[in-house]
Amino acid sequence: MQNTFNDKSTASRIIQKIKDISGGRKIKLMHVCGTHEQTITKNGLRALLPRNVEVVPGPGCPVCITPRTEIDKAIRLSRMGAIITTYGDMLRVPGSTSSLAKEKALGGDIRIIYSPFEAVGIARRNPDKNVVFLGIGFETTAPMTAQVLIKEPPENFSVLCSHRVVPPAMDFLLNGGYKIDGFIDPGHVSTIIGVSPYIPLSEKYHIPQVISGFEPLDVLMSIFMILRQLGNNTAIVENEYWRVVKPQGNPSAQQLMRDVFEPCSKEWRGLPVIPDASLKLKNEFSGYDAEKRFDIEPVENDSCGIDCPLCGNILKGLSNPVDCELFGKLCTPENPVGACMVSSEGTCNIAYRYGNLVL
């Protein structure tokens, strides 16, 4: 069923249409999903587009946008003796002076989990230890964190809540004058939130958006659909990925998020504080809130969390990894300097592995 979306002749048809309707002016499209960046770079899609059509990656990798202050908190909890559980890619993300991987090498009990329910299992099996789940990710992982909290996990379990939500960040970028002509909306996030959260953005900024799937043809088709809107001077939200994304999204997941979280304003790595683009646990769940429970001193907010020369620009789609003097030399997936090189969803990591990023 997947392969039909890989067909070469359909691809050339779409590319031809893109060329036909792209006009001459410069058009900058942004996606906000690491998996879209994978599809685009792995398949060399940028090279197939007309010169005036540019697709840039936005802050769409949840690992990359977790600021170092939040890594620092997990490190502090580990040093206090807690078992830290989190998703694999988080281990090598640099904090201010260390990373969870380094702490693990020094003897910290840090465990990689595949799903939050495994973290709860670890808490059950270690009743004499505090088990903290560093919960990161967008709307695609936040409902799962909510689900384990609703199920009354044991008292020694808590969550360091680093979840973030996508539409307010898109609003922030549009408001900040980054000159984006259209958004390729994230397919997986949309399976959860549905179509409606994007509509106000199109109305407010007159910007076309297309929710896109992850096959090369999906992305090409979405680009075509955005260009078609630009040509007609329309600005609406279209759903290219309707075989998976239902207009209403996933109501149970949304309900879980509403029950457990409320919006808050925190920094994103490489970006400043974005209004309402982060989630925190509601008061009813403060017993499970690691920050409240362990009184981790507030980390001074003196930096935007940028630890490499260009990560900030990379995350905003303003620079190309090859512009960074460290890229591929001092900074590699084995030895990441900046967060964008850590995760398999990070722009620099993808550019390094597939080596054909053309911006």
Binding site: M1, Q2, S115, T141, H188, R228
Partner: protein, 79 residues
Amino acid sequence: MNNYTFMCLAVPARVTVIEGDEAVLDYGGVTRKANISMLSDVKVGDYVLVHVGYAISKMDEEEARETLKLWDEMLKAAP
């Protein structure tokens, strides 16, 4: 498939067995369990997308075929 490094990659899998909130899924030969409590109407034989151990959406085969037809029409209609 190494799920540990693919936190973001929701992979489609076919439901083979349902046991309460859990389902056994087939990822083209590799089997794994997932929680299906966030979806209301999962049946054996359905394709679902899974994120960090939870099925988050159904993938409709009929709609996938329709998509290709719709694309064809859209491309034909474009200038």
